[in-house]
């Protein structure tokens, strides 16, 4: 193992990255002074008091994390996407405990608005204890795969899955359909959204799917706004160094590490800070003695067996374009123990962390990557990670950067929606 690892390190850090690492070290040496030390490298951008110097590569790295918000899109596989009645229906269903078998839990049980749409638990609790941490549903419209293992290929398929899971809401298609048919308000919204009253739809599974599509239409609207990072990024894009200098210097130092020597943005890529794919990051996947969570490996199996996937009869995308990922995704040995790269937007509000919620606070996550145990990374898999060996000041800086990804509206409860003609 040692020889390949040394080779990886030397080859992994390309010249531009070496510059970035050098800058990051200089920044770290500057400690917590108000004005970060400025690199003498002529490749760095002009400096303004309070602004951390960035190499051209680092600057490009920062810019590709925006612009934010991303353009609103509609999901072609979901005919309810963007429909006001469906959004209103989805919002009501999201908070409705009657959809669960015992009438005690709803989607919001694990996705509370006040907790940035998580539950604050290490592992979630539905009708029974679950094995994984509840990810936030904020900005979920921009994801490619859903759930930690990517078992769902659409937001609406993901919305159906907890309703039917015996450990989550424990419902059946018949139960969900009966709740919607029996409630005048839900039935009205359903009829408006789908041009057919639920009572006139004899197929319970079709009503269930449409409920899932309505919930997805609602969740698609849970995009969060600009953050302090976005203000900095936008200022950088327009060359407004004075505005950029308003971004806290410790966050700037952390950002330089994030896009520089940390190489964090390889996986936490783009405006949503996720490449939407799956990686083994050295978290043990033993759930309990004798029981393993294989992550993406089983997620692909479940995806391909799921009758609600985008290749199934319920997708509304007649072109089939949205199903390209589902047609071509491949279960490989290396997918064992891989979990989805989460978005980092609003990450400071979504503790505890990792797929099983084993790490909190945020500083411990940064330390995890700093002190990474390479023996826990699958040897047959990718060689992407290496211990970052960050100083405490650097850990502080990265945490400050991550905290700057917090949007003020991340914990807002959406106002009730009304649709003319519906109670």
């Amino acid at each position: 193992m040692n020889a390949p690892r040394r080779r990886l390190v030397t080859r992994f850090v390309r010249p531009a990255a070496r510059v970035a690492a050098g800058c990051a070290v200089l920044v770290a040496l500057a400690g917590t002074a108000d004005l970060p030390r400025v690199s003498g490298n002529p490749a760095t951008t002009p400096d303004t008091p309070g602004a951390t110097a960035l190499s051209p590569a680092e600057r490009r790295g920062v810019l590709r994390h925006g612009p934010w918000p991303m353009p609103a899109t509609t999901d072609r596989s979901n005919r309810a996407s963007g429909d006001p009645a469906a959004i209103a229906l989805g919002q009501r269903l999201f908070f409705d405990v009657r959809l669960s078998a015992g009438g005690t839990v709803s989607c919001a049980t694990c996705h509370e608005p006040a907790r940035a749409w998580t539950d604050g638990r290490a592992r979630s609790q539905g009708l029974a204890a679950l094995d994984r941490n509840s990810p936030t549903v904020l900005n979920a419209a921009h994801h490619r795969w859903f759930s930690w293992d990517g078992r769902a290929d659409s937001l609406w398929a993901q919305s159906i899955q907890p309703m039917l899971d015996p450990r989550e809401m424990g419902a059946t298609a018949r139960h969900v359909a009966s709740v919607i048919r029996a409630d005048a308000g839900l039935a009205c919204l359903y009829g408006t959204a789908y041009r057919q009253a639920p009572a006139a739809q004899p197929d319970d599974e079709r009503v269930l799917v449409n409920a899932g599509k309505a919930i997805a239409a609602f969740v698609e609207r849970l995009d969060t706004g600009k953050t302090p990072f976005d203000a900095y990024r936008d200022a950088l894009a327009r060359g407004d160094h004075a505005a950029a200098a308003a971004y806290p210097t410790d966050a700037q130092r952390g950002l330089a590490i994030f896009v520089g020597k940390g190489n964090c943005s390889l996986c936490h890529f783009g405006p949503a800070f996720t490449n939407g794919e799956f990686h083994d990051v050295g978290i043990p996947f033993l759930v309990a003695p004798g029981r393993v969570d294989s992550g993406r490996h089983d997620g692909i199996r479940r995806l391909q067996a799921n009758r609600f996937n985008l290749l199934g009869p319920y997708s509304d995308d007649v072109s089939g374009t949205t199903a390209t990922k589902t047609r071509h995704v491949e279960q490989q040995q290396a997918t064992f123990g891989q979990f989805k790269t989460p978005s980092l937007r609003n990450v400071a509000l979504t503790a505890p962390y990792m797929h099983d919620g084993r790490l909190a606070p945020l500083r411990d996550v940064v330390r995890h990557y700093s002190d990474l145990d390479m023996d826990r990374i699958h040897t047959h898999g990718e060689q992407l990670l290496r211990p970052l060996k960050l100083s405490e000041a650097e850990v502080d800086a990265v945490v400050a950067f991550l905290e700057s990804l917090t949007s003020p509206d991340a914990t807002a409860t959406p106002a009730p929606r009304s649709v003319p003609g519906c109670p």
Binding site: F269, N275, H328, T335
Partner: protein, 150 residues
């Protein structure tokens, strides 16, 4: 996306040098790639060649973006109609990270010597190798090119 670039590696190194010399109008090493004509309307972005095969390809869309599916349209010479090549596989990997794509490209013949590979996705920025495995006579020859994504 930066344009695809060559990096000398193993046997490919000599081919890349040859191609560079040829482009510069200078004498080249002693082999001649098979002739290769593209079907009408096909404009290749890149030509890969070895003594026994030529692959002309273009990506759809022309610019590859991280996290976006793309397709590859390719012409292989000698063509299947010549009886020289029996098939084509297209794949990609990140050599520095020791992983490939999470998706399996599916290749179909479109006629006129054209192949279409669909379902490719580069999920990270960095150096990727796009690989064309040309099958003929029970053996496979690999032609590849480097693509550096930002």
């Amino acid at each position: 996306m930066r344009p695809p670039r060559r990096r000398g590696r193993r046997a490919l190194a000599s081919l890349a040098v040859a191609a560079s010399l040829a482009a510069a109008g200078l004498p080249t090493i002693a082999y001649s790639a098979p002739p290769c004509e593209t079907p009408r309307g096909f404009s290749a972005q890149k030509r890969l060649e070895s003594p026994d095969a030529v692959v002309l390809y273009r990506t759809i869309p022309p610019a590859i973006e991280v996290g976006q599916h793309f397709a590859v349209e390719a012409v292989v010479c000698p063509t299947p109609s010549d009886g020289a090549a029996s098939g084509l596989r297209v794949d990609a990997r990140m050599p520095e990270h020791r992983h490939g794509m999470n998706y399996r490209a599916r290749v179909v013949k479109k006629g006129d010597g054209l192949y279409l590979a669909e379902g490719l996705l580069f999920h990270m920025p960095g150096l990727w190798q796009l690989m064309f495995d040309v099958e003929r006579g029970g053996r496979t020859e690999r032609l590849m090119t480097d693509i550096d994504l930002e």
